[in-house]
């Protein structure tokens, strides 16, 4: 296996959008922040969009999530570019989108609708849409050389890519199978039996709220389509680069395989598979464990060595199976991190950059 490291800053000179996707807890946010820092160090004007950052990260970066401003400029001594970190609160951003495209009268009515409140808060498609809406808005500002997008945590990565079309379908409220909208449907006398059935199930008010909701949001359909189209155009440009971050566990590697097939159906293509925390960095430095017999410690050491070999062979296997997709494969070993200050984050970013191994 030929391996090389290429500084992030060199690698991305020709790109203006870097997107990180992955399931929860794989280190998407950390990697996107590290990448944004390295790009800002090398002189680029960077906007990083993050959703659901950890308490510690927001604290260390000095971000104020309650501030009126939706971004925080981060500065340090030897920085030659600039770094603005945008924090997306999905509920707020989604409401901004809705209120800016509806008459104030309609919006006031919508605000008190229980279904609207539920979806702006809890629907995952809404969270994903908020992220891509923010990205489109930032591009419109035309103030940055590079936008780094951290996507919302989801149980299945594919959700993020399906969300624009699902949300669109949802708001237009038209299935592929039928031409009628919810409102048409509920008013159709021949289907009254089904309405009474649903009313029995969920109660009459709920159905009323539902009718109220759809008559209010009907006009949003085309706005969602516009944002979605703009997002697709950005994502599918040559200057966009998509990372899939995954851990070295068996089930997640099998997910990655599944994902490629699903994504290509939606015309999305991952550029780089990044295995994060692929193995312990210390194993690169120490060859002999200096342990005798069959102690617990030797078992542990051998286990970590095996894990490393397994991670590397998993990457090779993925590469073979996904040969047709022109993908890059990289990995990051697990590095000790003691994050107590902004300086710690900066030196961690440096270390991550140096250890980002392209296989």
């Amino acid at each position: 296996m030929v391996t090389s490291t290429l500084k992030l800053s060199q690698k991305f000179e020709s790109h203006n959008l870097l997107t990180f996707i992955g399931t929860g807890g794989v280190g998407k946010t950390s990697l996107s922040v590290v990448t944004a820092i390295q790009a800002a160090k090398s002189g680029r004007r960077v906007a990083a969009i993050t959703i659901d950052p950890s308490r510690r990260l927001t604290h260390l970066l000095g971000m104020d999530l309650n501030s009126q401003q939706d971004f925080q400029s981060i500065q340090w001594d030897d920085m030659s570019g600039s770094l603005d970190i945008y924090y997306v609160d999905p509920e707020t951003v989604f409401q901004q989108f809705v209120s800016s495209h509806l008459s104030s009268q309609l919006y006031d009515k919508l605000k008190s609708n229980g279904i609207y409140r539920q979806i702006s808060k809890n629907l995952r498609e809404t969270h994903n849409f908020a992220a891509l809406y923010k990205m489109v808005e930032i591009f419109k500002k035309d103030e940055y050389d590079l936008v780094v997008l951290d996507t919302p945590p989801c149980d299945q990565v594919i959700e993020f890519f399906e969300s624009p079309s699902r949300l669109q379908k949802f708001f237009s409220n038209q299935g592929e199978d039928e031409k009628k909208t919810w409102v048409d449907w509920i008013q159709n006398k021949s289907l009254k039996f089904a309405e009474s059935f649903i009313k029995k199930l969920v109660g009459g008010e709920f159905v009323d709220e539902m009718n109220g909701f759809f008559s209010a949001v009907g006009s949003l359909k085309s706005e969602i389509a516009l944002v979605t189209e703009e997002f697709l155009v950005r994502m599918q440009k040559e200057s966009s680069y998509l990372f899939l971050v995954y851990p070295p566990s068996l089930d997640k590697v099998s997910d990655a395989r599944y994902l490629m097939r699903e994504m290509s159906k939606n015309n999305f293509f991952v550029n780089e598979f990044v295995m994060n925390r692929a193995y312990l960095k210390v194993l690169d430095q120490s060859q002999e464990p200096g342990l005798s017999g069959d102690s617990e410690e030797l078992k542990l050491y051998n286990y970590f060595v095996e894990m490393k070999a397994r991670s590397l062979s998993q990457i090779e296997q993925l590469r073979e199976e996904l040969e047709g997709y022109s993908l890059n494969f990289s990995l990051l070993p697990e590095i000790e991190a003691n994050m107590q200050s902004l300086n710690d984050i900066l030196s961690f970013a440096q270390k991550m950059d140096e250890n980002w191994i392209v296989t």
Partner: protein, 283 residues
């Protein structure tokens, strides 16, 4: 430990929820309990960990580890629930194929959640099609989504003023808060960021579900010190052990019921086969 009928396992992504749920299911099966392991997902994670050749389905089927398994999403549960009233599965299926009902399920995220919880608690409420098991171990979503899942019945009960939906929601909410019936495990790691999140989680769930919650710290290093003559490795490992002690103190400060599991240094399927005796050691 006295295990309850319904056991949820949640925690931050990547902490090992699925692994620990499987160990728990195996443990209960070894004690002779009729046990069901349930994944709340559209694709199984357990299948590759167990190295089973076929995937779990909505209807429970046996594994080679002594417990049954099943995978479910809200839609499946809702169809089954409605069928049990209409008595005609075909009719219900047909109804669900219309986009209107698809929309209904999507538009009311609470309804999806409610259907899952309705199914899981049906035997305790003597309502709807029930599971016949001594224990049901649920490999649940990660903390954020799990929170919306568990809160859904309470919120729905408040937002709907009458009707069957309200009654069902209230009933489910009561069961979920009954420490005699339901138990929650939150999986943590001996690392500072995951520990931050665990503190947040306990802030969110702690008060309301107090007695029913246990913390399960995963991937403990089973050593006190290093015997290695290789300084690089020795330093690394001892630093890890020290760092672990700091997190251990935080965990014990945070909660009364804290247990741990060591790093498992072999494939999970092999480990499960060799598993025996008592499990769940207090930290």
């Amino acid at each position: 430990m006295d295990f309850k009928k319904l056991i949820f396992v949640s925690g931050k992504g990547g902490t090992g929820k699925t692994t620990l749920s499987l160990i728990l299911a195996r443990h209960l099966a070894l004690k002779g309990k009729k046990t069901l392991f349930v994944e709340l997902a559209s694709r199984s994670s357990a299948q590759s960990l167990l190295m089973e050749t076929s995937a779990p389905q909505y209807n429970p089927s046996p594994t080679s580890f002594g417990f049954d398994w099943s995978i479910m999403e809200g839609r499946d549960c809702l169809i089954e629930y409605i069928s049990s009233f209409t008595g005609v599965e075909k009719f219900t299926q047909k109804l669900f194929d219309t986009h209107v009902l698809k929309t209904l399920v999507n538009v009311a995220p609470g309804l999806n959640d409610l259907s899952i919880l309705g199914k899981l608690t049906s035997s305790m409420r003597e309502h709807g099609p029930a599971f016949e098991y001594d224990h049901v171990v649920v490999d649940a979503h990660s903390t954020g989504s799990f929170h919306s899942l568990i809160k859904a019945p309470g919120i729905l009960a408040k937002s709907v003023s009458s009707g069957p939906l309200k009654l069902q929601s209230e009933g489910i909410d009561q069961v979920l808060k009954d420490p005699q019936l339901v138990q929650y495990f939150f999986v943590g790691l001996f690392e500072s960021l995951p520990m931050d999140e665990l503190e947040d989680t306990m802030g969110t769930f702690g008060e309301e579900y107090q007695e029913a919650i246990s913390i399960l710290m995963n991937k403990k290093i089973p050593l006190e010190k290093s015997e290695s003559s290789n300084d690089i490795w020795k330093n690394f490992l001892e630093k890890q052990i020290q760092a672990e002690k700091v997190q251990k103190a935080r965990a014990k400060d945070l909660w009364n019921q804290v247990y741990y599991e060591n790093i498992i240094v072999r494939p999970l399927s092999e480990y499960l086969i060799s598993q025996q005796g008592e499990w769940l050691r207090p930290l």
